[in-house]
């Protein structure tokens, strides 16, 4: 978790999460709603890669609960998804850090795609089945955004020497 005694500038991480949460509910034109990237998952993936000792699955779970309240889904649904994403990222962490950017994007695409499939399955369980596989589109958009998010956050990380 962020915010323990030894951390410095940890609030910036939380600020990015807050902004991510705003982005994930911000109004979009109808045709773009279906393409909305998984902002929280992107941020979590980056911080888990960079500071695995600070941002981990517990953080992911708490953020997921918050997202559940925002979206009005069952409490625990998005928490489960985000925990799984963070788990996968953390278990691939050693390799992911060595990868070039495009390869990272590919891995992110696979992980987020899996997560979205779990999401589809969970919402089918709760009787709100989405009719199409268009649900995987956000994963694609997120993977395309990954390099930019990654560069931006890395700059932030260096600039403020967040530990």
């Amino acid at each position: 978790m962020v915010g323990t005694t030894a951390s410095r500038n940890g609030w910036i991480v939380w600020l990015t999460f807050a902004i991510g949460m705003l982005l994930s509910v911000s109004p979009l034109p109808q045709f773009m709603e279906i393409l909305r990237p998984l902002w929280l998952a992107l941020l979590l993936a980056f911080w888990a890669l960079t500071m695995p000792q600070k941002v981990g699955m517990v953080t992911a779970w708490c953020l997921g609960l918050a997202e559940d309240v925002l979206y009005g889904t069952l409490l625990g649904q998005n928490a489960l998804i985000l925990t799984l994403i963070t788990f996968l990222v953390l278990s691939l962490q050693q390799r992911l850090r060595m990868f070039p950017m495009w390869q990272q994007s590919l891995v992110i695409l696979v992980i987020f795609g899996l997560a979205q499939l779990v999401q589809l399955w969970l919402s089918a369980l709760t009787g709100n089945r989405q009719p199409t596989l268009a649900l995987v589109l956000p994963a694609l958009v997120s993977a395309l955004l990954w390099p930019w998010v990654s560069y931006g956050l890395r700059g932030l990380h260096r600039r403020y020497k967040i530990t």
């Binding site: 509910v25 911000s26 109004p27 709603e33 409490l75 649904q77 799984l84």
Partner: protein
Amino acid sequence: MRVLVLVVLSVALMVVDARFTLLKPVRSQMSLVLMQSYWITDLPQRLWQGVASQFGSRTELVAENEKLKTENLLLQGRMQKLAALTEQNVRLRELLNSSALVNEKVEVAELIGMDPNPFTHRIIINKGERDGVILGQPVLDARGLMGQVVELMPYTSRVLLLTDTTHSIPVQVNRNGLRAIASGTGNPERLELRHVADTADIKEGDLLVSSGLGQRFPAGYPVATVKEVIHDSGQPFAIVRAVPTAALNRSRYLLLVFSDGRTAEERANEAAQAQEALDQHGGGPVIPATVPKPALVPTPAAAPVAAPAVPAAAATPAAATPAKPATTRHSAAKPPAAQPAATKPPATQPAAVKPAAKPPVSAPASTGGRE
């Protein structure tokens, strides 16, 4: 290891949240903080509107003012007639021994967010539990029904729109009282009428109003207009598509309808008592002595399901006798004077409609309260 614990915890939470109401307080506490984010993301638009209205040109404002004045005049003119019609409606209902109607209270709410999930049609409004909103409360806009409240939070609530795939609403054709169920399709401009017989008297342009049979929505509010009726001999039923009259994806200001929580019998009794009190004072209109006794429950036969369609057009008691017994269903029974009552008093209440009057399908107003 940790991941296992968290996964199990999430699953447990989901099960508990789906089955019990244990977690409602937790959710509402969390929403107190988190729902602010909808408000924040709505801020730019609000600011933009503020700026636009600040710098709107004078001529535009004058023109708008003019237009609003005209509209107001028209509406007030219609209101005058409405008062008379309401009075008449009450009297006729008393003749029929059915319970009197009660005016519904409405309150204005503002849209503050859309559900980010593109596959559900839900919106967030800025009135919540503390404002007296209740679960299942109907929501209108200026042109018709929009949906119902499905989740309550302290200062906000979530509204499920008519066009969500999990939503259905009992309706009737305004022209002849034909009952049907309108289900959402996931398309904001499209409702579908399920299980309408191929021979049913329904055609393009018909107005569908809420029938009040689901005990959830008040009767008589416009819901949709029929856009096309397809008779396919290969299908067991006609395919009827309708367009919601409410601007489901454009309205910013909504009306919450507060209908009282009393049962139809209690309302009937109270209305009868009020009427008696009025008669004793001598101020009330002269009415044949058919004021219902407090204990008298209106019988289903005396409470035609299509009541809202009849009274406004019927000036004489002869025409007010239920021209359409509740038993003839789809047989296209046209009441003699059932020209579509020009201005339906929106105050009609499903007071008289009792479950005993055999709703066609006793479907609840909505199937998906929560996902």
